[in-house]
């Protein structure tokens, strides 16, 4: 299972099917929450996850597709677009240090 130390996280990708709706809202919130950390956040369709992504966030229903499209990446699935505990935990780990795996 891939894992990454929080200090090595430079780029987070929020992926969804079209990269049009939910991923945009989540990415905007994450950007705000991580503004002062130097971590960049972008949203893309699940089939266009860039090679330099360190962590990929996507809806649990798309996790299998994301895993296939970006093998070996640390993948954090979530259930709800705003306020999901998995996302809150990721932000806390980036801020406080620790390991992210999935």
């Amino acid at each position: 299972m891939p894992s990454i130390d929080s200090k090595d996280i430079r780029k987070i990708i929020v992926a969804c099917d079209a990269g049009m709706g939910s991923s945009v809202m989540l990415a905007s919130q994450l950007k705000k929450q991580l503004r002062d950390t130097g971590v960049t956040v972008a949203h893309t369709p699940v089939n266009d996850i860039p090679a330099d992504a360190d962590v990929v966030l996507c809806h649990a229903g798309l996790a299998a597709r994301a895993r296939a499209a970006a093998p070996g990446k640390v993948l954090v699935p979530f259930q709800i677009f705003l306020g999901d505990p998995a996302v809150t935990e990721l932000v806390a780990t980036i801020r406080n240090g620790g390991t992210v795996d999935a």
Binding site: D17, A18, S22
Partner: protein
């Protein structure tokens, strides 16, 4: 509003729908009517919804098309369609649909504003209960 992203004619505050499919069709129609998408986009919105619900919390859903349907998006646009009677959304109750048509990133600032609203229960309630088009546009832009 920049580039007509949220056309006042696409803000419909007194609609009703028997269910999720009818509500999404109403949103799709609003996007067709303002010239943002071609007709097939509506089916793509239904297809997208069947894969994962676009329920976004606080009584809001954000129906939109699939990646493939970007081909029939003529310009980035948003519609706001309010169903005061509520719509059953796979077990959630939706009062407001923010329908999205986007081939680019023109709609990103508006969705960021929507996320801020949804994370603030008082602002979310104000938007759910808005009865004036100007009120809706002001809240999201």
């Amino acid at each position: 509003m920049r580039d007509g992203l949220l056309d006042p004619r696409a803000v419909l505050l007194h609609e009703s729908a028997s269910g999720r499919e009818e509500a999404i069709r109403r949103c799709g129609r609003a996007l067709v009517d303002v010239g943002a998408v071609a007709e097939p986009y509506i089916e793509a919105m239904l297809e997208r919804e069947r894969s994962i619900s676009t329920y976004a919390g606080e009584g809001f859903a954000i129906p939109h098309g699939t990646a493939a349907a970007k081909e029939v998006v003529l310009r980035d646009a948003i519609c706001v369609v309010r169903f005061p009677g509520g719509v059953d959304w796979d077990g959630e109750r939706v009062t407001v649909c923010v329908g999205i048509a986007a081939a680019g990133d023109g709609h990103v600032p508006l969705l960021a504003a929507l996320a801020d609203v949804l994370l603030d229960p008082d602002r979310a309630r104000a938007l759910r209960e808005a009865t004036e088009v100007n009120q809706v546009i002001k809240e999201l832009t």
